[in-house]
Symmetry: D2
Subunit: 345 residues, 4 copies
């Protein structure tokens, strides 16, 4: 009504993350998609004629007939959601930020830059202070990023423990959905009835991003957290939802009840604001499961189950999150929402 | 020709493991299936009219028309391969052993008994000495067992390391095939496109059985190995082949080359006898995969890949084995073959 | 507000259809679930402690703690939605109807009874007149049924053609989802990566039900339609959504445009009332697909695509519908809604 | 021993069909692979370094280190097995045949040429007489082709009926495996838990190829069979094995027993030569199934089941064949074997 929405553009609009961004931004209370842009191959064509639309809902009516533009600094919008392929994201996102856009990126390229915040707002919104550093570096706009999809599921489930008890060691094995590889992504001959025990660079991303996210902002930079973390990443024949088996050792010893309480208190803190669980714990050890639980909280809830003692570290549990919503497009959007809330956008 | 085969019976002949035993024993050079037996529900009927045969090859011609008998001590055979359900295996196997049969069992019931050898012959054939203890306990025959399917994959891939460098800590996460749950087993609504992050009792089996298998026989009993081991077990939509992500810390530090050499030397030791790899290592980090590799070595080879450093323990790798062959029916048969070779059968 | 909801009971509340009924009736504008009932095995226990809940949304808050009752005529409600297993549905539904309840059943038992309407309200609401015949047969209440899940997809996609041009011959091959078999239903070993080319009784159901549904009510009975119809039914590894390949020959020859117009006109007739497409036609020959389209119209839309000439009959097309919503629970609910609309409930 | 094998080349050696050709030709009694060739992109490199090998058995030892050559007329071999992509197969195969090679092709390009035999040797070996026509057209060598994978399954199951009773009408709906689309082929996001109801050009291929195969050679050309045939083609999440639902009307009416006898007699004719069933009929209506039956007869048997009356045409049944063996690479090899047997190679 009286409130004008913020003009938003979607970079990489034909890709899997771009499509999910467009789907999730439809009728969003704060943002209005006024521009869609992609690589030169698609630029100039009409969206519905070009995109291989994979979302279950139809292309939003106002987007279907929109013309795809180039990713250049003449887009009529204030914020750019980037689902660009990492082959091109680096340069484009930098250019757009230099030209005054607020770039909210899901791409990996800038995540580990010293002056770029790598944000899960429920964990480290304080890192937004890095934006000032970027502004000093000749940028009229700035870039904020969200982590890798698997990293997000791990961090959200582990942060209450870290906050309450500290962490010494974390081991995580992932079973990741095919939608995480985009489209066409994983050939069906590789994954139907199969497990692929390697996802290039994924283990390194989980290990390094987690330590940055759990780090502390001090004097214009992030002091990384310093526990040990090791990831083993696998692809499984699941459409949506990354399942992870996690084991951890805390600094301060904790009982199962204390850990469950830490989940509960952490969740309660956000639930009252949004009505959506950040973490949901299942008593049933057979849960969470991707088919049943990836969509919990409109895909924004990370589900956790089966907390039990570990004979090597202290405790182990299963966690699950929707990789293209909580782990990608939804992560970018929640970042932008926090920027608005904190007056940064 | 001149060599007479040993008469063998299959207990639990209609179940998934029983079927695989019958398939693998067809035309076996040492054993001839002369009896098939099952629970009272099936006993008395003709095999091909009763079994829901799930093997890709047809029911062996000599078995198809055979009458299913009760699991009682009037079976005309010397060795009994048991694929019985654990609900009934305990009592039946004991009775049969007391009556003079050699029971080679895949069932869990007797695995952890003090006087029952839990054998992977390439690792702990020395444990067969426990048979003497059984004989002193009023048994005319005896029972030998093979481990749980996941345990076997773990142990075969880990034993060369243990033997060469010792072990302090082992963490393993499994992604297990549906055939491990028998038939009807896992409902399709539970597993199609899904992960089920819990398999009752499986983690405890892996943790305890491994320490027994790696234990030392001394004075009529097994002194268990004493490293720390923790397992997280998941079911994935794969038909055959358990994939496991393993991380470990050795007692004596080892380089990647030394570990790969330990695999290689261990494999060479058995390869010359059987022409089949016990362990096969893949340089390609995307391997092993269930679809491509579960059948290696007629399903008896454990495949290993992607050895890499671990930031929490020392090293990590992927391993894979065929759960119903190397992990069950084939494991029982190789046990019986070793019994023959050592003059115990 | 001022309108009081009609008290409803769910028979077979723990089964797959019963669960879907409970999920779809949650916050329904006309009905309020006041009773849940099941077989004697479950009766007496609390719903959330007994049910193996398979729906992605949680058990509705007012149902979770509800006590499961017996399926006997002391339930406090006016209408009974029945998802009972066909082994018990016959007798229970008869008894309940005799005792004054309006039974809206998804079970097969009464579908082909002379005095029981077999209804797809968008096609043959006129058949509700059979209710009078039932009332004359000593029933204080009555039974109405919806067709088999595959039949519904076929009939809704074919009815516009039948209405406009008549039908002489229909051939249909189905590729049916596993959820159609309930829980535990199809064992995963039977269907993962597989096709099962037989579903007992399914072909006969499709062939006979279709002719009743397309029949004419005259003088207290249904005169069946009299075209030739043949069905071949297969199970495929899809969770939700029956896909069917249909070929047909019309009485009066029609062009592709005329057939597409018949879809369009038929759809328009209902769309203005409900805002939901009954039929949606896709130009893209690769559509409809279960993953992308089974959920269209909240699962109530039947999707059709790829109309093309047939070299044996006249035309062929693909159709798809959500088997547990449009084909089962949603079909029952839309039946009850029409009963209310027509003053019969 | 004394018999020298015929030198063979594989065109398109890195593709899915090329790999299967290499796997099936390993240790073949008649042929020895002396050359492997591919598009310019791969030519010049060593096979094992270039191919993304997808077969469960390892690359044959003599091929692994072989250099991939260009598809040009300097290859040292007599027969060329072609698994070339249809984008390039047309020109290359023509050139090779003109230069004296015997080209045995699985590619679609030449199948419908007037002077090219389209062969299933168990059906129409007489069509090899077309080779003479080719030789008159300036070819020093010649081309023979095998049909599309789905066509082969249809034709082999239908030919005994055609031969004994004639055919008036045939309707077929396919459920085709992903391996039929090659590698990378079908993206997993398109097919996991899904059905894709369209395969470009597939229906036309089945309809036209069948009539040529069942045609009669007369005076240097094929008179096509003249019954009506219509195909509806779907992709399903199955790795190997095309399942088809077939309905047909015969010229001369036949009983179920007569049809089953025609299968049996037809099969017997070939069984004595090869020891492999051409057709195998299952009494069990749940068979054939891809997982259980695609590998029957080393993948060369077409399995048939559930013959039953059809209310539109006369009879209907399910058939299944291994699409990359019986339907592609194995089909080419059996063609070449027949050429040798008939002295044409």
């Amino acid at each position: 009504m009286g409130i004008e929405k913020i003009k938003a553009g979607v970079l990489g609009c034909t890709g899997a993350v771009g499509q999910k961004l467009i789907a999730l931004l439809d009728k969003h209370p704060l943002f209005e998609v006024t521009e869609i842009a992609a690589s030169e191959r698609s630029a100039g064509s009409i969206y519905e004629n070009t995109v291989n639309w994979l979302e279950p809902n139809d292309i939003p009516g106002n987007i279907a007939g929109m013309k795809i533009k180039n990713c250049s600094p003449d887009l009529d919008c204030k914020v750019l959601f980037s689902g660009l392929d990492s082959k091109v994201a680096g340069e484009i996102e930098s250019t757009m930020a230099e030209n005054g856009y607020v770039v909210v990126s899901n791409s990996r390229n800038h995540r580990m830059f010293d002056d770029v915040p790598l944000i899960i707002p429920e964990i480290n919104a304080e890192h937004y202070k890095l934006i000032d550093a970027q502004k000093q570096n000749n940028r009229k706009g700035f870039i904020v990023t969200n982590p890798n999809c698997s990293t997000i599921v791990l961090c959200l489930s582990l942060y209450p423990v870290y906050k309450s008890f500290g962490l010494k060691k974390v081991m995580v094995t992932t079973m990741q959905a095919i939608s995480g590889a985009g489209y066409p992504g994983v050939p069906s001959l590789d994954i139907l009835g199969n497990v692929v025990p390697h996802i290039p660079d994924e283990e390194a991303k989980m290990e390094t991003e987690t330590l940055k996210i759990f780090g502390k902002y001090e004097n214009g930079k992030i002091n990384f957290a310093d526990f040990k973390i090791s990831a083993m990443c696998n692809r499984v024949p699941v459409r949506d939802g990354h399942t992870i088996s996690v084991s951890f050792e805390t600094e301060k010893k904790a009982t199962a009840d204390q850990i469950l309480n830490s989940f509960d208190e952490y969740n309660t803190e956000f639930l009252k604001d949004t009505g959506i669980d950040v973490i949901r714990y299942f008593e049933n050890p057979f849960r969470p499961q991707p088919i049943l639980d990836a969509g919990k909280g409109n895909g924004m809830t990370v589900s956790v189950g089966n907390l039990r003692e570990c004979r090597v570290l202290d405790w182990k549990y299963t966690a699950l999150g929707h990789n293209t919503i909580r782990g990608a497009a939804g992560a970018a959007i929640i970042n932008a929402e926090y920027l608005v809330k904190e007056g940064l956008l």
